[in-house]
Symmetry: C2
Amino acid sequence: MLAKSSTELVRQQNSALVLAALRRRGRLAHTEISDATGLASATISAITADLERARIIEKSEQQATAGRGRPRVLFSQRRTCGYLVVISISSDSIQYSLVDYAGTLLDRFAEPRGEGGTDAFVASISAALERVVARSSIDHDSVLLVSVSSKGLVHPGKPVLVWSPVFGLQPVDFTEVLGRGWPARVILNNETLLVAGALLEREAKKEGGGERALAALSLGHSIGLGIARRNAAGVAEISAPNFGHMLHIPNGGLCRCGARGCIEAYAGFYAILRMAFEVPMDTIPAKFVPIAEIDKIAAQARQGNRMAQFAFRQAGVALGNGLSRLLSLHGHMPVFITGPGTRHQDLLQAGIEEGLSQTQVVRLEGMPALSVVPDEPSLVFEGHLNLAFSIIDQDIILSRPHIRAAGE
Amino acid sequence: MLAKSSTELVRQQNSALVLAALRRRGRLAHTEISDATGLASATISAITADLERARIIEKSEQQATAGRGRPRVLFSQRRTCGYLVVISISSDSIQYSLVDYAGTLLDRFAEPRGEGGTDAFVASISAALERVVARSSIDHDSVLLVSVSSKGLVHPGKPVLVWSPVFGLQPVDFTEVLGRGWPARVILNNETLLVAGALLEREAKKEGGGERALAALSLGHSIGLGIARRNAAGVAEISAPNFGHMLHIPNGGLCRCGARGCIEAYAGFYAILRMAFEVPMDTIPAKFVPIAEIDKIAAQARQGNRMAQFAFRQAGVALGNGLSRLLSLHGHMPVFITGPGTRHQDLLQAGIEEGLSQTQVVRLEGMPALSVVPDEPSLVFEGHLNLAFSIIDQDIILSRPHIRAAGE
DNA sequence: ATCTGATTTCTCGACTGTCGAGAAAAAAGC
DNA sequence: GCTTTTTTCTCGACAGTCGAGAAATCAGAT
């Protein structure tokens, strides 16, 4: 059921529009905001006055006046309005970034991922978080949001990692990362979901609007997938289905997750290693494979080693079959491949195409566009910012108490 | 990018809310509408006065007054405001239904599906449509929408059948169904999509809101799947992925669609027949299998015939594997099974569960709820009404010119 | 027959919001 | 110093929602 609408909601939505325009295009003048949002000039005056009074945006220092006419007044986010902490968890380390409200990176450091169980893990993140704010002497209260990303399966709604490559079925609850005295919220998202979101936003910036739906496939020790699409209302919807552990072959090779025949058990780094060395497919997979090992196998494959070639081929077919199923169930869309595995795209490509080509969806609508976007960490960070600031802006607008004009 | 908002849009959305409440619950009094929508009584007065002046709703004839106090004035849709024509295409016949704006069925007849190509097919529908309005002597102009359903793959946006069991890759364009002099629009939807939509609406009527996402699986000569979910804004999103022709087994049995290894090539009626009679899997499948044939095989299976049992078992495994992939890619959700194939659910069940159980998603989140809903035609019709009237109401509200109070 | 209480509908004024037009501001050019 | 140009700001008109209370109308008590 739809929610009722009211004039106050109109103001909220239009304020959100103004903040989104500022987010997307940086400093803007009154008239530019009007153009970007389609709102009347008078409305922009009202909204910007409101937001300025609430100390959310501010007039920039005058820039060199270009041309004649009354000089423009540029609005931008007030940097000190609040802060965002980004936590990117990868297999071996955890990266912490501090970002101000205008989206500029203020501080960044990484820590190795310690040993120990989930409790110790959460505690170490909690401690690092204290260090982030201490280093920049930022008040706890001005941290608006903590955005965490990891590989694995995320609970819909709660910031809980339901399944992860490292902790398996042992759930990791990030609500406890923030102790007392932190008014901020924590959000947790799958890494490849953020990649898909970042790619969709990049598409939106292209002229003509770019693709309206896309999939991001991350190749590495594990296999990640994110789907991003713009719905009829123009809102981005992003999700991270459990692609890596979707069934590839019934009763197939043993996967890290304990099930059999997952895509990852054919296309993950450990799977390529297992196949190249002709280890039986029901061997318990290696916990971690250094990327150098995979590079070595790839080099052998390129020199003509049949088993190494076969391993990459099989990985490609698993991915291709999986992608064909993705297209069958989610509609035709371009696929962007990222992650460390893209180094060996030349060895995977033929298998992927073979795996795709047999199926009806590809016969009907053709091979999907496959592009390689190597720099995954940038995409992840970009996705963090997109998602986090859209939530922060929304929260600010919703929470802002009604502020009357000064004279009242 | 979000669209700008304005006070006029607020009225539109709230008008839509009033019409939706009337749609869902039938005749309502002023106060009941207020309760259902959450809008203030004064607002209801304004909106109903507007809609009444536009001759979209009307005050019902007084019903027996119950209790003391000022008698209620019940509002309902004005029946003669416009009409909907529903066309349900099935493998052997086409059913035409005429429905008034209040949702009551006025006329219904079926015609056998003729021979001939797509042009003849479209022409015969066009002729039947003329007959629908002639029989009830309805003006062409008062037909607001024609809603068509069929099995097969529908073009997103245009009313074009991209792939169908009967015409294969030859596209069927339903825009031509309405000739000149028909202001109405034509929409085309996959049959099982409508089923999923109807089931979601039934869930919404349960107290507590029922399921927020579900899948409908239709078993018959071909395999259909619809997914319906309520998004964060509470709007239903329904889709019909190409489940029947999703890859089940690479290089597997030959399917009607020309590809190999589709789910349908293992679980469709013709596939069950082919397996039960041990016909080679690359035999070109029968165009049409009478349901009696399948019933016969089912009877044999129930009497202990191994090959017949095996055929149903394999069909079940194909469905189960496919459903596991569905859950992997769309999240965990209950599955409602419908269609003529549900008669033999007892023979399929074990295979479905086997096909589901091997995978990570089921190990993590458990077996999805599987329920059988035998009466598919009712669900299809219900889905037609839900979808068609939501479009009609939307159109009416958007197209309605601004109507001033009488005195101006 | 009339009064009273209950219940629903209707109406009025206050408030919030958007928009267009034009006034005001401020710099560049002559 | 005046004009031109461009941008910002302000004002009044208009659309919409809401709460409060008036008006309508019936059932039952007196």
